[in-house]
């Protein structure tokens, strides 16, 4: 059968091997799926296109999935798309439910990956046509919608929103990059720091500084608490993991997977928005929104289904338009380029063998990811039993290595890690909130570009409201999210007053 033509033992082996290496990259703070693909890209030249893609797609799926391990166990998102996994996964780990949180995350990752793969296989060209209906206006509104999650994640509404805006402000430091349609001018750079801040602060070093180094500094200040014992973290001895935890959550899983896929098909919106939007929606539609951020399994499910949903979605514009959906698929184009294969609207029709191979690789990678991670969980989970005086120096070293290598060896990225480690520690003292800050930092540049480009292109603010029916639907969602957050915040404040 033609469908199985590409399934050679080497192909399967490369996919599984790629997934394994990807999981390791994703699980090390500061290393990402993008980095894994970048490192292995040159190897693909000698492997040929289909085998090369098998390796890269395995790395992609593994890298995205591996990010949940440090997010849950250490409170450090392994990849930017795991930020929202940290919000509930880490509290679960602190409550001795790290293994449970990992299993939930892995199952959700598999569901997200498979749903997005089905959508990719059946609807890729049609979805690409739908994606190009999203102009600057609609993309700005999607980013704005994702930004409303800042309010939903804030324990103190005003301070949370302030933290978010601070994140946006800091994200705009540097050059208004011409590659994003900017004018190449520098802005917000303090005098004397132009040499270092020309490209602004890098996301990954900032992220691991705020989540990783800040935690180490906090523990150093308060005195390290002993690590958990094995009996605190092992599910097996106390309660068996049951898939019944997903009862009532299938809508959440499917919705989050679809959101992830949808965000993936929109070039330029960015992978992190997938999990942020999925998480935000899960909270909005939850019967217990107040539990989010405190160890709610539904939050982990939404985040992981969302970010793995992205994997299939991001391949839609790549294979139907020749346009990458996120930073990792931008690297995948390199594999095609190195083999001299054109990627564009005719790719699927002209290259049915390669298309089938990619679908197989994604399927095998998702299954391999699930098997490898699900059965290795108990060993992963033991990380939290390592005494902190041993664990923290290792984390710190990995953070520094990750920061230094993320942009191919720029020392300022290590300084960024240190600066934002201290800043993250200080934020706690000032009651500023890290999650809204990070979300503002990630989404700020996209919001700026799409806002400015809309005004440049249409010259009128009213276009944001009148551009299309899609824009109007997005406004309804934005308003719903803001009102929901305010009501939730008020009811939480009322409950606290009543309790006290």
């Amino acid at each position: 059968m033609e469908l199985f033509d590409s399934l050679s033992p080497l192909f399967v082996l490369l996919t599984i091997g790629g997934t394994f290496v990807g999981i390791i990259f994703g699980a090390i703070p500061g290393m990402t799926a993008t980095m894994a693909v970048a490192v292995c890209l040159p190897i693909t030249y000698s492997l040929g296109l289909e085998n090369g893609l098998a390796l890269l797609l395995g790395l992609y799926v593994g890298g995205i999935s591996g990010g949940l391990v440090p997010a849950i166990l250490l409170g450090i998102p392994g990849t930017p798309s795991s930020i929202t996994t940290t919000l509930d996964g880490y509290p679960m780990a602190q409550q001795g439910q790290g293994e449970k949180a990992l299993r939930i995350g892995i199952v959700a990752s598999l569901v997200g990956g498979l749903i997005s793969l089905l959508i990719l296989d059946f609807f890729a060209p049609a979805l690409a046509d739908f994606a190009i209906k999203f102009s600057y206006v609609e993309k700005f509104l999607i980013i704005l919608f994702a930004l409303t999650v800042m309010a939903a994640l804030s324990s103190d509404l005003l301070l949370g929103i302030f933290s978010g805006f601070l994140g946006i402000f800091i994200s705009l430091i540097g050059t208004y990059d011409v590659t994003n349609g900017g004018n190449g001018e520098w802005r917000l750079i303090p005098p004397g720091t132009e040499y270092w801040l020309q490209d602004g602060f890098s996301l990954l070093p900032l992220l691991i500084g705020l989540f990783g180094l800040a935690t180490v500094l906090e523990e150093a200040q308060t005195g390290m608490q002993p690590g958990m014992s094995q009996k605190d973290v092992k599910v097996g001895k106390h309660e068996r993991f049951s898939f019944r935890i997903f009862n009532g959550q299938w809508i959440n899983l499917i919705r989050s997977s679809c959101i992830g896929t949808f965000v993936g098909i929109l070039p330029g919106v960015g992978g992190s928005a997938a999990s942020i939007l999925s998480y935000s929606n899960a909270k909005t539609f939850s019967k217990h929104p107040e539990r989010f951020g405190k160890g709610e399994p539904a939050g982990v499910m939404a985040s992981e289904a969302g970010n793995n949903g992205l994997t299939g979605g991001a391949l839609v514009p790549l294979l139907s338009l020749g346009i990458p959906g996120d930073s990792t698929t931008a690297l995948l184009i390199g594999a095609f380029t190195l083999q001299g294969v054109q990627v564009g609207p005719l790719f699927i029709g002209n290259n049915p063998g390669t298309w089938d191979a990619m679908i197989w690789a994604m399927l095998i990678a998702n299954i391999a990811m699930f098997v490898m991670m699900y059965f290795a969980i108990r060993y992963f989970a033991m990380v939290v039993t390592i005494p902190k005086h041993i664990l923290f120096p290792v984390i710190l070293m990995m953070c520094v290595i990750g920061a230094y290598t993320i942009n191919y060896g720029i020392m300022f990225d290590v300084w960024t890690l240190l600066i934002f480690g201290i800043f993250g520690w200080a934020m706690g003292k000032l009651r500023l909130e890290v999650a809204p800050f990070i979300i503002g930092f990630i989404l700020g540049p996209s919001a700026e570009v799409y806002f400015v480009k809309t005004l440049e292109s249409f010259g009128d603010v009213s276009i944001f409201f009148t551009k299309s029916p899609i824009a109007m639907v997005l406004w309804v969602m934005i308003i719903g999210s803001v009102v929901g957050s305010i009501l939730l915040n008020r009811s939480a404040a009322k409950r606290i007053r009543e309790n006290s």
Binding site: A38, L41, P42, Y45, D129, I132, S135, Y136, T175, D177, V178, T179, N180, G181, G182, N183, G184, E185, W186, E194, Y195, Q198, D199, P267, G268, P317, L321, G322, I323, P324, A330, L331, L332, I333, G334, F336, T337, L338, G340, Q342, G344, P345, L346, F347, N407, Y408, G409, I410, V449, K453, E456, S457
Partner: protein, 377 residues
């Protein structure tokens, strides 16, 4: 791209002389065994990673080739990867291509006088400074410009398939007639130079008509395409590789496009593979380039632009190292294999030694500099 070489002879010599001290018995002895084994393994690994002596004794064994693009899917990475691979084999050293981007690439290059960091870039290197890009310097003054290695003949301009403009003459005539023509470009480089040429051509046809050709500043190719699909641009900058498949779509498809101009010279395009790319044969390409498609630079000549890839070195790098690289490149291009690989990747092979290339690129800079200056008034 990490091209790796190692000294197989050195390793086997080391391996032959190495005897494993097997002393099983007490715990201490076992510990010694383990430690010695580990030491031996580390030693063997150290020998293994030693590359062979370079083409020249002074050449660094590990070299980093930064490129001015952050994309590993673009033509800069591809051109650099092909050359790095060939140079690694020829010189017996490791050359790793890092897609760090223009600003970071120049910074890395400026820091390293030893020659362990070199750069591969294209005409953006001097165009960015000519267009006043913040932080960019004249590479002919701040750095040492080296050999050219390839040309990408694919820099193109396209219109929507249902556009009223059939060719460049229509576009320029529209501007002369007072119609505003919007061109989607990424400002400050290769994408903008064709736009500047269009403005200049309209001015040549009727002074002041260039004002009717306006830029729509976008970012990536995706943004330029989207600008056309959203009806925000009448003409977009693109490339044969990225846009050819869109030209095969039927006219009623919103995404369908049509080439109107390839900026390369006729001579460069004649070097392209006869089959071209996709449905665009070499003969068809020539219809979109000078002299068939004319975009006047002045009353006597047409504007052309070849996107050339070349080396850039630190200003204080030892000239002997540059000579060594030049010599190795000359041998590589004499052997002829690299040309086949470049052609397969849709490049036109274009090796010119450093001194020749420097003068050629300096002349290019002067030509385009004058054009940009004239437009700025």
């Amino acid at each position: 791209m990490y091209a790796h070489s190692c000294n197989a002879d050195g390793l086997s010599e080391g391996a032959r002389n190495f005897k494993l001290p097997v002393t099983l018995g007490s715990g201490r002895e076992i510990m010694n065994f383990t430690r010695r084994t580990l030491l031996a393994a580390v030693g063997a690994a150290a020998i293994l990673v030693q590359p062979v002596a370079g083409f020249s004794k002074d050449l660094p064994r590990n070299m980093r080739m930064v490129i001015g693009s952050t994309s590993t899917g673009g033509d800069t990475y591809q051109a650099a990867a092909i050359v790095a691979d060939a140079l690694s084999d020829k010189l017996g050293i490791n050359i790793k291509v890092d897609a760090v981007g223009a600003a970071a690439g120049f910074k890395a290059l400026a820091r390293d006088k030893r020659g362990t960091t070199i750069m591969m870039f294209h005409d953006f290197a001097y165009l960015a400074e000519l267009y006043g890009g913040k932080g960019f310097e004249n590479p002919f003054e701040a750095f040492t410009v080296g050999a050219t290695v390839a040309t990408n003949p694919a820099n193109a301009y396209l219109v929507s398939k249902d556009s009223p403009y059939q060719n460049m003459s229509d576009i320029l005539q529209a501007a002369v007639d007072g119609t505003r023509v919007r061109v989607a470009i990424q400002p400050g480089g290769v994408s903008e130079i064709g736009f500047s040429a269009m403005k200049n051509a309209a001015n040549v046809m009727k002074p002041g008509a260039g004002e009717n050709i306006v830029a729509v500043n976008t970012g990536s190719q995706s943004d330029k395409n989207q600008a056309m699909w959203d009806g925000l641009a009448d003409v977009i900058n693109g490339s044969i590789q990225a846009n050819e498949q869109f030209t095969q779509l039927p006219e009623d498809d919103q995404k369908a496009m049509r080439f109107v101009w390839l900026t390369s010279t006729e001579a460069t395009l004649k070097e392209a593979p006869e089959a071209g790319m996709g449905k665009l044969t070499r003969d068809a390409m020539l219809q979109y380039a000078e002299p068939e498609t004319s975009v006047p630079l002045d009353e006597n000549t047409d504007f052309t632009f070849d996107k050339e890839f070349f080396f850039i070195f630190n200003k204080d790098m030892d000239p002997e190292l540059i000579d060594t690289i030049d010599g190795a490149l000359a041998e590589i291009y004499d052997e002829g294999n690299i040309q086949e690989r470049e052609k397969a990747a849709f490049f036109t092979p274009n090796f010119q030694p450093s001194a020749v290339a420097r003068e050629h690129l300096r002349e290019k800079r002067e030509t385009y500099g004058k054009l940009i200056k004239d437009l700025d008034g």
